[in-house]
């Protein structure tokens, strides 16, 4: 093989994309930039508020500092109530979400109708924000922790149920086949063949959702559904920023603790 033949056979230039593909990629970038610019223009943002934002932020911070530490004594009770709302809401979630997850997974649902019902419940639960669920349950139960518990549960069922249903759909089919081959009943197949395979996901998802629910339940008080949010809302409305900062620090504290608990539990699941 001569040098020229070799160079033709084994060229030194190789490009990942053809010129046409490169053009299409640039067109996508341009499209995204255009949509962003268009959205910004349609929102009609009052830019003059934007100009002094840094001085406003500095002003707010100066009102928050120093925090009124004596306020902690009053915060402790509602803070614990917030954690209780999250925990009880998560317990209800587990009881409701598990059966729905088995309905919503294609490989465990009895028929197309039950699958549709399962999926519908999950989508309905997730499409409404926790605070909006709060408004609904305050109307039903009246203001207080009960409304908070049910709004946490109502939103979490969709989250937990969807993740568990997806895990059920990805289980090893061979194990299920082996349990079926022993003559086990349908429920026994779920119990021995399916649940052990998804148990790590069940535990992990529940703890993760509990962690999220603690954060969500801190704002439920804004709509009267119990917890620390009621006081937070009141202090903000009274411009009592040194109280607000105490509550933000307290919330930050329990969120750190719940994150730690959640991460530890999920790390230990095998």
């Amino acid at each position: 093989m001569t040098r020229e033949q070799h160079a033709r056979r084994y060229p030194e230039v190789w490009r990942r994309f053809t010129p046409k593909e490169t053009l299409i990629r640039y067109l996508w970038f341009a499209a995204v930039a255009f949509i962003a610019a268009w959205s910004l223009q349609r929102l009609e943002i009052p830019w003059f508020y934007f100009l002094d934002a840094h001085t406003q932020a500095g002003d707010l911070l100066s009102r928050m500092v120093p925090p009124y530490w004596g306020f902690f004594a009053e915060v402790a009770g509602p803070l614990i109530e917030t954690v209780h709302i999250a925990t009880l809401g998560t317990v209800i979630t587990v009881l409701v979400a598990l059966p729905i997850a088995f309905l919503a997974a294609r490989n465990t649902t009895p028929n197309a109708l039950t699958w549709f019902i399962g999926r519908f419940l999950l989508v309905a639960s997730r499409s409404v924000n926790t605070v909006v669920w709060g408004l609904i349950f305050v109307a039903i139960f009246g203001p207080g922790a009960m409304a908070g518990i049910w709004s946490i549960a109502a939103r979490s069922v969709g989250f937990v149920g969807k993740l568990i249903a997806e895990a059920i759909e990805e289980i090893d089919r061979g194990t299920v086949e082996a349990v079926e081959a022993t003559g086990a009943s349908r429920l026994q197949v779920l119990l021995i063949g399916v649940i052990p395979q998804v148990l790590p996901v069940i535990y992990g998802t529940i703890v993760y959702r509990w962690d999220i629910n603690i954060r969500e339940s801190t704002v439920l008080g804004f709509v009267g559904a119990g917890g620390i949010g009621i006081m937070l809302y009141a202090s903000i409305n009274q411009f009592a920023w040194h109280e607000v900062s105490v509550m933000l620090i307290a919330i930050f504290g329990i969120v750190v603790v719940s994150e730690f608990v959640s991460a530890t539990v999920r790390g230990r699941i095998t």
């Binding site: 061979g174 194990t175 082996a178 003559g183 119990l191 148990l199």
Partner: protein, 276 residues
Amino acid sequence: MLMLSVSKLVKTYPGGVRALNGLDLTVDTPQVVTVIGSSGAGKSTLIRCINRLVEPTSGRIVLNDLDVTALSRRGLRRARRRMGMIFQEYNLVERLTVMENTLSGRLGYVNFWQAYRRKYSPPDIARAFELLHRVGLDGYEYTRADALSGGQRQRVGIARALMQQPDLLLVDEPTASLDPKTARQIMRLLCKLAHENGTPALINIHDVGLAQEFADRIVGLADGVNAFDGTADELTPEVLNAIYGEEDWSKTINRPTADSNKKMQRDGLERESAAG
């Protein structure tokens, strides 16, 4: 005496693939029958049709005067209790212990809450301990299945199937995921237990050498029908050509005399029991 009779069995999968094409097979003595044939010849489908993990399209399967093909879901569950199955990928419940996996062979005899609380009858528990001893897994009761090696997993698979006290063992490629030495040990164990218990076994296998070494009877499938039915000695290159298509088989077929074959198996068993 057991009687498995498969007649005119046809299975067409959705999409039109015809895996079985009117297959006939009778097993009426407690013997080890290996089923050989190329991939797609219908070996797995045959075994899965017998306990109806795969629904046959047409044909009849009769096990001890029971028409398996005509059973309701409930009747099928009762029939499945009498058929132990062993899989290529072991198909254990990975996160459960060896004991839980073994006892799961009795699921057909306990209710939901007994299964939930792992509450099996004392004779069942004693039998599980005995079987774990016989497959060489003494002391592994609390070990989780996902901590075992391939050979150990298949031993649990064998114990689970025998836990059912089956009339028939359905075995789908028991050695295809194992190294050659472990494969031989597993086949030897399987055939030994099948003979001791007087349980006939239908074993799908790719390895013609292993099939010859351990089978009382060999059935060859080609294109979803029975292309050969005989003993290891009758497996000639012409027969293999008929089952698999043209190939040079001179290095594949080992034809030891009946005596030396038996002696090899006996030696193997002694080595095994001495080691265990």
